[in-house]
Structures are given as C-alpha cells and as structure tokens.
Symmetry: C2
Subunit: 405 residues, 2 copies
C-alpha cells in the first residue's frame, strides 16, 4: 500500500502528542558506568493499549504482570530497566516486578493497574531493588524524553533504535513513534527484544490488538539474530488519542493509513535491530517469492536469514549460495526444485533446478556491501515475505562468551 | 542396558568380517593437497542393508539413487567422495551419481543396483567426473582399508571418527564397526553427516531398519553442531553375516546385545563428531530428566545443546545458566518452572523455581574443562534423553566464512 507518510527526522516515542518520558542511570549492572538504565514513559491520559509477548514457556515476572495489567486494553505508563531481566527469579522476582509497578504508579500519578513493567538484561539475577527505588526518584518525564528512554533500554545494543512518521487524514495530523532494543537472543517471536510504539491517533480498543499483531508479524517477527527467544520480550502499542479527530475503528477510512504508518515505523525499527545485531557487520535481507502461502514464504525467509552457516558466509563475502537453498530445503515450506531461482545482490546464481554461471569475483565484491539482499523464488505460488537478519561474526562469539563476566 | 561389549582398539568399518575398503586422493577439490577424497567399501557377499536419510526437501542425486538401490534391503558396495556434495546440481548431477555407481560396480564386481553412492562437500558444484573416473582406477579394497576410508570421507573434520566393538553369543563372536564424518552443518536429522555402520552378524532384513532407526534416534540424531541440515546426509548399516551363526531376527536372544553394540558404536561416533564440531574447543553433553515423554526430553536436550547463545557462553567458561532454561522454555517441551532444576558440571545452580547461590569462580574453572555436562530436570515425568554438541567459537565463524574460498 502506498501511503503519504512523512518521516519525522530524529523522531521518538514522545513525538506523538500526549506522551512524556524520562530516564536515569540507576546503576543496575554497575554503579560506575553512568549508562542510562531505567526509564519511564507516561501518557497524559489513559491510552488504548495492546501487546504481543514472547512465546517462551518461562515468561518473566514483569511480562506476566504486564499481561494482567493490559487485560482491560488500557495502560498509562511504562517502566523499563536494562541490565537485569528479572526472569527465572522465583517468588522474589514476582514481588520485585510488583514493586516496580507501584513505584512507577506513584511517580507518574497513575493507577498501578495501568503500569507496564519491562526488564531486560541477564536472566536469573535478582533485580537490585534499592537501586530501582533510588533511580525512580530521579526520573523526570518530559515531552522530549523519548531519546533518553531509547538509550536507557539498550543492553548490548550499540545504537538506539527509534523512528517516527506522520500522516494526515481529514485535516488531522497523526503521528506514530517507536523505539526498540535488542541485539542478541533475537528470533522470530519476540526474543530478547522490546519494542514500544506510540500514536496520538484515537484508536478503538477493538482494532488495536489486530493492528499490532499484523504490524509485528510482518516486521519484528521476521527478524532473527541468533535463533534464540527470551523470557521477557514484548511489543507494545499505546494510542493516546491526543491528536484529536474521530476514533479510528473497524472500517474507518484512516485505518489503512494508520496501519501503513505503524508498518513503516516497525519495519524501520526491525532493520535497525538487524543492522545492530550482536557483532554484526552487515544487514541481511531475505525476500521469498512464489510461495504457496504467506506462512510458507515467512518460514523460508526466516530459515534463510537464520541459517548460521549462511550468516558466516555473508560475513566472509562468500557466494556459497548452496547454503541458501539448503535452508529452504529444511524449513518445511513447499517448493519445487526444478522451478527454484535464487539471486544474491541481484546476481542470479540458480534457475530452474540448476546452477548458473556467474562472475565469482564480482559477486564477492558485491557481498562486501553493508547490506546483503537475497531473493529466492520457490516456484509454487504467489505469496511473498521478507525477513531480516545479520551476518555471524567472530565478534558475536566474543560478546556472548563474556556477557556476564 | 548393560552388555558385555568389548571395545576393539583402532577398530574400523572393516573390523567386522566380510568387508574390504580402499581409498585414494582423486584431487576432487584440488589436485595438489594429496588428501584422500574417494573411497570404496566392498562386502564379499550381498549384505542386508538399511539407511536413514536427511529430512531436507532437496535431497541430492547420490542420496536419491541410494534410496532406490536400497529399496530391496540389500547392498554390496559404497562409493563415497569428499570435496563436492553433488547436490542442487540439476540433471547433470543425476547423471554423475549414476556414473559413480556404475564405476564402483565395475571396480567391485557387483551389481549396479547394489551400490550406495554418497557425496559430501560444497553444495551446488558439479562433480569433476574425470577425476572420479581416474580415481576409481586407483582404488584397491583390502581388509585393513577401513582407516583410509575414514580419512577419505573427511571434509572440514580434523580427525577421523571410527569405532568398533565385539560381543559374543552362543559361541559366536560378532563385531560392529562404524565410521562417520561431519563437523559443520550438523543438526538433529542427518545434517551434513555421513555414518556407515557394518556388522558381520547375520541380521534379518525385517529387523535391520528398526534397529538402525532406534540406534540413530538416540545417538546421531541427538547431535547438533549448528542447527543446519544438509541435502546429502545418511546413516547406513550393512550386515554381512560373515560371522556365521543363526540369523538374528525379531525375538532372537542376541538382538538386545546387537542393539547395544550398535548403540555403543553410534554413541562413540556421535561424541567424536561433537568434539570435532567445526571450530569446537569443547564437547557439550546435555542430559534432560523428568520429561513427560522421550520426545519432550529429546526436544529439550537438543534445544539446549543447540542454543548458540549457550554455546558461546560455554566457549567463554561463562556460567550463564539462564540461557539453558531459556532454551528449555522455547523448545516446546512440557516443564514446570517451580520444579525445574539445573546443574552445570555437577554444580547445582537452580532448584524448585529459584536460583541457588554457587561459587562462580569455581564453576568458571570447571567449565574450562574440555567436556561440559549440563543436566536439566523438567519436573513433570520420568523420561530422559541426552544430546551432544560443542561450543561456538570464533574459529567456527572463520571456517564457515571461508569455505568455498
């Protein structure tokens, strides 16, 4: 869908009207680095809210609390910390998540049941609540606090991931903003990844969940860094309604535009997450065409983007295209070998069941680009999908062999 | 099952009676290294034969030919080359696999339909048939040729993987031998892995397939190096009957002993494959207890052994045990968080839904051992399983970023 979306340079989650944010260095991992690691987002009014969660069986206490608080489709504040995931922490972890919600509610002046709690960092460590308590005291939410929020939720991320777009409908200007974190342990269903989307559009609660699910399925859920999924991940959408105008519900003419705006922000965040994958030197984009169904197209695209053998080859500028088709072969998607086609960086290397001759040196040079595009035709239908990932580098191994040290 | 199995030091696939093997350096990847890369196994008589194959959708021409030739449950020769997988090679690949079978049949003096063809190496390259033709001329199968065969099938393997055991029943001595190759692209269902098992026991065709399936499901299929599965993998079992004695069929008293011998050889090969995983510095053994079913136990053990985050932590001697439970959480196996238990190198770090205090420096030192054992209790049943893998190292990335260069 083509939509007249206007990019907001340096846009954040507080670019949409009605949202304030603040961040502080609470010293959760250590009290010397001065890294922002605790943040609060507050909406001026209660928002329509929807979320999608990790599929991990062991959901962390913050996530379980958030699920309860969002059961009524409303929320007004988000408290997030980095450095400690507060998951697999037993009963103490449950009490700590509850206290975080209470601290945030008191600070923001909202009901405890309208607070979302998110924690990211090392699994299995108890959260240092004394530092959380002290840190909350230093939070000062403001209208331009979105950027601090984005930095505070980072763990091994090397850059903050934010985006915002605007669109107009019937004389009203609406804004969608988003922020995400995550760079390791990211896989296709809400792995150690947090994403918060805000909009000032007034959105009907009934359509909000479906809107978020569709958005995420085509963007954040098509991202894979290392095949792992964590216990704490979520994508959350808050709609403040502060832009005014009619409530956007089922069949409203602005709904497709709002969907496009959310998709745009979420895809931008997804690409930023992929590019900043732990140790990554390249963004990997895999498009699959000719699939029997969207599910199959997604399955194949994710399998290729997630193949660590291919990811290592991409790191080495190695046109080892057999690894692409190998992944297509084991992913379970329907495909016909005699109608397969494959191109890397627009160079076709395989067509109709047989390898094509190609200039290996030229392709090797093309693969040295910071963005590698792979395109596979399955030859059985019309469905298509795109997945994003990154290369696998020695740096990834270094980072993940030293994380808790 | 405890069985009086006698290990045969330096045993090979030609240790069981009735098998000859030969190998040569055919120059398939290059004609300068002198590496053995073409091998032939010949049985003196037609053998009862069974195989299990890769689950990859795009099975290579050698594998498809082998399936046809084994349809009658009989085989007498195996021709294997390393350096080129002859897969995703179109019609030419099919013709090349057929010619390899014909060359082997002529050399060995057996029927073409009794020849198994296996190719391993780079996917998508046409096999240099002129070198295969010349190489077959140099093959001289002998009774002590098993070791050469084991070296010829190696690709990125750094050591040959072989084993043999003996057992006695009713005055007859039976031998089981085995050889395997594979170190990258190995996952749980016959990924780029070849395993050939031989026995001189006379085995009924009807029980041979089940025997191989059970053996492989508990050993080679519990091995994961990098989550990838290739187009060419197989495990093959040949029973020559040269030891004499009664044919071993359903209900025969020697069947459990034969199963134990096969399991012993296959598990030894599996551990050798894991230890020699590409770039690996450590063997990783993951045992899961208390599962609701064997399927669940296997699923959980494989998920933990396959988590690249955990594998990176193991490389770094990092007691980041949250990554173990994280993998258990996303694998889909039934588990109860409040009854989970976890130990690493016999140090218990988690019990009954909460972390335990432990001496981090001591555990770090214990993890520096060349063999890392992880044990997880799921707390829901009685089933158990073990999976094997290895750590993820910067060397793995280096190897796989340069493979075709």
């Amino acid at each position: 869908m083509e939509a007249p979306l206007i990019d907001v340079p340096d846009g954040t989650i507080t670019t949409p009207r009605g949202f304030l944010a603040g961040a502080t260095a609470a010293g959760i991992r250590d009290d010397v680095s001065g890294k922002l690691d605790l943040a609060l987002l507050v909406a001026e009014e209660r928002c329509a809210a929807a979320a999608v969660y990790t599929t991990n069986r062991f959901q962390g206490p913050p996530l379980r609390l958030t699920k309860r608080h969002l059961a009524d489709g409303k929320a007004q504040a988000i408290i997030v910390n980095a450095g400690c995931a507060n998951s697999l922490t037993g009963e103490q972890g449950v009490r700590d998540a509850q206290e975080m919600a209470e601290l945030a509610a008191a600070k923001a002046g909202v009901a405890v049941e309208d607070v979302v709690v998110a924690s990211t960092g090392v699994t299995g460590w108890l959260i240092p609540m004394d530092r959380i308590r002290a840190g909350v005291g230093h939070l000062i939410p403001t209208e331009d606090g979105g950027d601090g929020f984005a930095h505070a939720i980072m763990t091994t991320d090397t850059v903050a991931k934010q985006a915002a777009v605007r669109f107009q409908h019937d004389g009203v200007t609406y804004t969608v903003g988003g922020v995400a974190k995550g760079s390791g342990m990211i896989h296709v269903n809400m792995a150690t990844m947090l994403a918060f989307l805000t909009t000032d559009a007034p959105v009907d609660s009934a359509v909000l969940s479906a809107l978020l699910r569709e958005t995420v399925d085509a963007s954040l859920n098509m991202l894979t860094i290392d095949g792992d999924t964590s216990t704490n991940d979520m994508a959350l959408l808050l709609a403040s309604g502060a832009a005014g105008g009619e409530t956007i519900g089922e069949g409203h003419p602005a709904l497709p535009l709002l969907g496009a705006a959310l998709g745009n922000v979420a895809t931008t965040l997804t690409r930023k997450l992929a590019r900043d994958g732990e140790g990554a030197s390249k963004l990997l984009e895999v498009r699959v065409d000719g699939a029997a169904s969207v599910e199959d197209a997604r399955k194949a695209a994710k399998a290729v983007a997630g193949s660590i053998l291919l990811k290592a080859a991409v790191f080495g500028n190695d046109p080892n295209w057999g690894r692409v088709l190998d992944a297509v072969g084991y992913c379970g998607a329907e495909a016909r070998e005699e109608r397969l086609a494959l191109s890397m960086q627009e160079v076709e290397v395989y067509r109709d069941g047989a390898p094509l001759p190609f200039d290996e040196d030229a392709l090797r040079q093309a693969l040295a680009h910071s963005e590698v595009r792979i395109r596979v035709e399955l030859g059985v239908g019309e469905a298509t999908a795109t997945a994003w990932g990154c290369d696998l580098t020695p740096e990834y191994v270094r980072i993940n062999s030293e994380y808790t040290t």
